[in-house]
Amino acid sequence: MLALDFAFFTPELISGYIVKGFIFSLQLTLVAMVGGIILGTLLALMRLSGRPWLVMPAAAYVNTMRSIPLVMVILWFFLLIPLVIGKPLGAETSAIITFTLFEAAYYSEIMRAGIQSISRGQVAAGYALGMSYRQTMGLIVLPQAFRNMLPVLLTQTIILFQDTSLVYAIGAYDLLKGFEIAGKNFNRPVETYLVAAVLYFIISFSLSMLVRKLQQRIAIVR
């Protein structure tokens, strides 16, 4: 049995290795969440538009993204983006673009379910008041769909936060990478991986508790 020793975990180590990675992980999560929900909503509207030339590309995009391992998607984008823009791109920027586009597929499925859960009567009521499609969607349907789906969207965001660790594949400096480098430099990989696991657990677990609370509140309001 190996004796664990956490004494090397000093404020200097944390500010030197961990904070930088933590900030990037948070940044990646938040940008991919906001961007993913916006793009995902657009994709959902395309799929529900009833026009084949909008439905088909949106469906193809969502289904493709959902059937490829995220690690492979990360690698694909890291390979393809420089070819498209004609110059090399940092791993962090590439990760942000990848996660936004990848999560859009998952958020779009949630938004699609949310929009479908709103009764057709609501749409009819919007039109009956003389609203345009844009107004009916923007003022009547989407706010309700978003509200109903908020817990599911947040649960997806917790998964997203956990998945950000996969940027390991292209060597981006995220929270996990910070721990890994610290572990290597201090020759204490066992302790650093343990602390990393505990930290990820605390964040994900408390967020999922919050989502559960929110779910109960929404259930009561309804």
Binding site: S67, P69, V71, M72, Q162, Y168, V190, F201, S208
Partner: protein, 248 residues
């Protein structure tokens, strides 16, 4: 990169020469050989992890529906633990931390460690589905089983589980397809599966697009095969007179 070069798969990995049959001979292997063996590793990791996940996930899911507080707590704690740590971190724990803390496990091949890591991670999701499946039967079936004089284990064995599993075949199917996708994290601990092949072959040959396309295609095919297999099972066990199964 303007033209395709699929011949890259026929090249031998050490000499770089194109093999006439596309398969290596005399000790050397081509990229095609490597690709196929990597596919084999991906499938092996996935299938074994699925077995681990089904065993532990079912057990924990069942515990969470029993009338015993302690068992429910155990099942809940298990599920939360394995659900709230990123898969890659769990794989690192199995690879770097578990053998260090438990010297007995030091000789265990990393393949087994990855199977355990991926399996237990997925067991948390399967435990959720098994629990939901059992609870969707409401209390009536449980009471009916007990009222016939079945013990609690008999009630699970003969009454609750046969229906619960039928109900959760669709989510179990997508979880099985997820396992194939998630097995890609094994690259991080040097299991020679598809993603590691993609990374290394891309580097060696500079034909990234061809390599990635082949790998992505094999992931597609694997997931599709699982989907078909699950549909086959679903049709085989369908209960006459029930649409979709479950409920009243």
């Amino acid at each position: 990169m303007s033209t395709w070069d699929w011949q890259v798969f026929c090249k031998e990995t050490t000499s770089g020469e194109v093999a006439s049959t596309c398969f290596g001979k005399g000790g050397d292997i081509t990229y095609l050989d490597w690709l196929l063996s990597a596919w084999g590793w991906t499938l092996s990791v996935s299938v074994l992890a699925l077995v681990v996940a089904l065993v532990f996930g079912s057990l924990m899911g069942i515990l969470r529906t029993t009338p015993h507080r302690g068992l429910v707590l155990l099942g809940n704690a298990w599920t939360e633990l394995f659900r709230n740590i990123p898969l890659l971190v769990q794989i690192f724990l199995w690879y770097h931390v578990v053998p260090a803390l438990f010297p007995i496990l030091r000789g265990v091949p990393s393949f087994i460690l990855v199977v355990m890591g991926l399996g237990l991670f997925t067991s948390a999701r399967i435990s959720e589905q098994v629990r939901a499946g059992i609870q969707s039967l409401a209390g009536g079936q449980r009471m009916a089983g007990l009222a016939m004089g079945f013990s609690l284990p008999q009630t699970y064995r003969h009454v609750l589980l046969p229906m619960a599993y039928r109900i959760i075949i669709p989510p179990l199917t997508s979880e099985s397809m997820n396992i194939i996708k998630n097995s890609s994290v094994a690259f991080a601990v040097s299991i020679s599966e598809l993603t590691l092949f993609a990374l290394q072959a891309q580097e060696e040959t500079s034909r990234g697009i061809e390599v990635y396309l082949a790998v992505t295609g094999l992931y597609f095919i694997s997931a599709f095969a699982i989907n078909r297999a699950a549909l086959f099972i679903e049709n085989r066990v369908r209960v006459p007179g029930m649409i979709g199964g479950g409920g009243h």
